[in-house]
């Protein structure tokens, strides 16, 4: 139906445009969160995979993927009605409530784009240190169109089958996090283990970067979660407060596990716990109370910290624990709505088991999780497997030893080390010569 530009809700429009910018900054934030955790020879490779998503996904979004997600009223997939961002005088099919009448269609395009950018960036964490750039680009382009767009349609489009069934996913716990987490495990399986894993020295090269990245993620996530109300109102405020509360509680939960299990609370653990909390509260942030958020955060922080031990036991080299944080965290958040959901703050929510609600709420959540994770894992596995047949995805062991930065990009991240990286000695010679000449004259 045609959009009435004469009656734009300026408050909601302004908030959503600002929220879109907040969500964009999560991707460079994620780049530093991941980049700090790899070894120094691979930091540019990691940053590049994340930053590059802002390029490829944005262009594909305009060309076709937005339309596949939102340009039609089929239950399974959109269409080509919005391809090339045509027909931007019409609102998304099925999106007819008062809120939808207040914000111009392109605002929704911009906001949803930022989610489409960060989702593939999330799976790069499991592939750290070994994924060649070309196959990564091809995979990400195909994945955006064949996996992200359809799943976004199922859950976020008012005509999608999971949306219609009443699955609750406020800001993308299934579409973004469980989806990316399942893909991350599939890609790690096809790529195989890194040279020397497990047992080798894979210590993070820059934990301060990890903290910086986690901070940027936390900041941007307010746009992600509170923006997902698509309006500037009380539910947006509830989502905002719940996001902060769960993140804080998860930070504590992760550190408690570390203190009991490893003897020391670590800065890496604090950053990881915060991100686990952000992930888990994402689907629930508009549907639970602040006290419910504390429980969700504590559970997510503790469970995700324990889940990092799984990869070693099953022998899957999920390098930066995307499975433990995003897959486990996203699933937890979606399922916990079945317990902590409450209509107190949001009439669009449902009462979960702890608020006298029926088991069917949990059942619908479980179905949404199963459908998303199942489709994402299988489709990702097939795409990665087929690409790998014709274009070997993994660097050779020798290339791994040299590192992604030099082999894939012909660059080195740091010039101030005297061990490798080059120009330190010549700089020293030049500058001391200049100082000598200055003294002489």
């Amino acid at each position: 139906m045609p959009f009435d530009f004469a009656h734009v809700d300026t408050g909601a429009t302004a908030w959503l445009l600002a929220a879109s910018a907040l969500v964009l900054v999560m991707t460079p934030g994620l780049a530093f969160f991941y980049g700090g955790m790899v070894r120094s020879k691979n930091v540019l490779g990691m940053l590049m995979q994340n930053f590059f998503c802002m390029g490829i996904v944005s262009v594909l979004w305009v060309l076709v993927s937005y339309s596949i997600a939102f340009g039609g009223d089929n239950k399974i997939i959109g269409g080509f009605h919005f391809a090339l961002l045509n027909h931007m005088t019409e609102q998304v099919p099925g999106y007819t409530d008062a809120i939808a009448q207040g914000t111009p269609p392109l605002v929704f395009v911009a906001f949803q784009l930022m989610f489409a950018i960060i989702t593939p960036a999330l799976y790069t964490g499991s592939t750290a240190d070994r994924w060649k750039f070309g196959p990564f680009v091809l995979f990400t382009a195909l994945w955006s169109i064949l996996v992200y767009a359809p799943v976004a349609h199922w859950v976020f489009s008012p005509t999608g089958w999971l949306f219609k069934r009443g699955a609750l996913d406020f800001a993308g716990g299934t579409v973004v996090h469980a989806n990316a987490g399942a893909a991350a495990i599939a890609i790690a399986l096809v790529l195989g283990k890194r040279r020397g894993w497990p047992g080798g020295d894979f210590r993070p090269h820059n934990v301060p970067f990890v903290l910086l990245g986690a901070g940027l993620l936390w900041f941007g996530w307010f746009g992600f979660n509170a923006g997902s109300e698509l309006h500037a109102d009380g539910v947006a405020a509830a989502a905002f407060v719940n996001t902060n509360t769960a993140t804080a509680a998860a930070l504590l939960g992760w550190l408690i596990v570390e203190k009991l299990r490893d003897g020391k609370a670590t800065t890496l653990g604090a950053a990881s716990g915060a991100v686990a909390g952000l992930v888990a509260i994402t689907p629930a942030c508009g549907f639970v109370s602040p006290v419910g958020s504390i429980f969700i955060g504590l559970i997510a922080g503790a469970v995700c910290a324990l889940a990092t031990a799984i990869k070693g036991k099953v022998g899957i080299d999920d390098a930066l624990d995307v499975g433990a944080v995003h897959l486990v965290g996203g699933i937890l958040g979606a399922l916990l709505i079945g317990f902590f959901g409450t209509t107190d703050l949001n009439t669009a929510s449902k009462d979960g088991l702890f608020y006298g609600g029926p088991w069917s709420v949990l059942g619908e959540q479980a179905l949404a999780v199963l459908a998303t994770v199942g489709y994402s894992f299988l489709a990702s596995l097939i795409i990665a497997f087929l690409i790998n047949l014709v274009w070997k995805m993994k660097m050779t062991p020798d290339e791994e030893e040299v590192g992604m930065d030099e082999v894939l990009h012909g660059e080195s991240a740091y010039q101030f080390t005297s061990l490798g990286g080059g120009s330190h000695l010549s700089d020293l010679i030049t500058s001391s010569k200049a100082a000598e000449e200055a003294t002489a004259s």
């Binding site: 020295d201 210590r203 490893d262 020391k264 670590t266 890496l268 990881s272």
Partner: protein
């Protein structure tokens, strides 16, 4: 002349420097090094995964002195660098054939 080489804990470098200054030592050279002795390495834990760090960061100090000053110097370094805990380091002394001061061309003990 003797070359005294000491490998010590990094945070002890200032103490050793002051001890040598009070003995009238005119100059020394330090470098950042890594290695292990009986201390072996240590372990670091990231997200529950233990990593063994074999090479521990240390500071290497090198000083060239007159033959008769070497003993006193070694004692001073050992006293200043000692914590009594494992990993305090090692000191060794080797003979030096000659020393040249680059600026003037002086040789031998005069160049120290």
């Amino acid at each position: 002349m003797k070359l005294v080489t000491a490998v010590i804990k990094p945070f002890k470098v200032e103490d050793v420097k002051s001890a040598l200054e009070s003995l009238g030592v005119h100059g020394l050279t330090i470098s950042e090094v890594q290695g292990y002795g009986r201390q072996k390495g240590h372990t670091e834990v990231y997200r529950g995964a233990e990593y063994k760090v074999d090479f521990v960061p240390k500071i290497k100090i090198e000083v060239v002195v007159d033959d008769d000053a070497a003993d006193e110097l070694v004692t001073a370094i050992a006293t200043a660098a000692q914590t009594g805990k494992i990993g305090d380091g090692k000191i060794w002394v080797v003979p030096v054939e000659t020393v040249v001061r680059v600026r003037t061309g002086e040789r031998g003990p005069d160049a120290l």
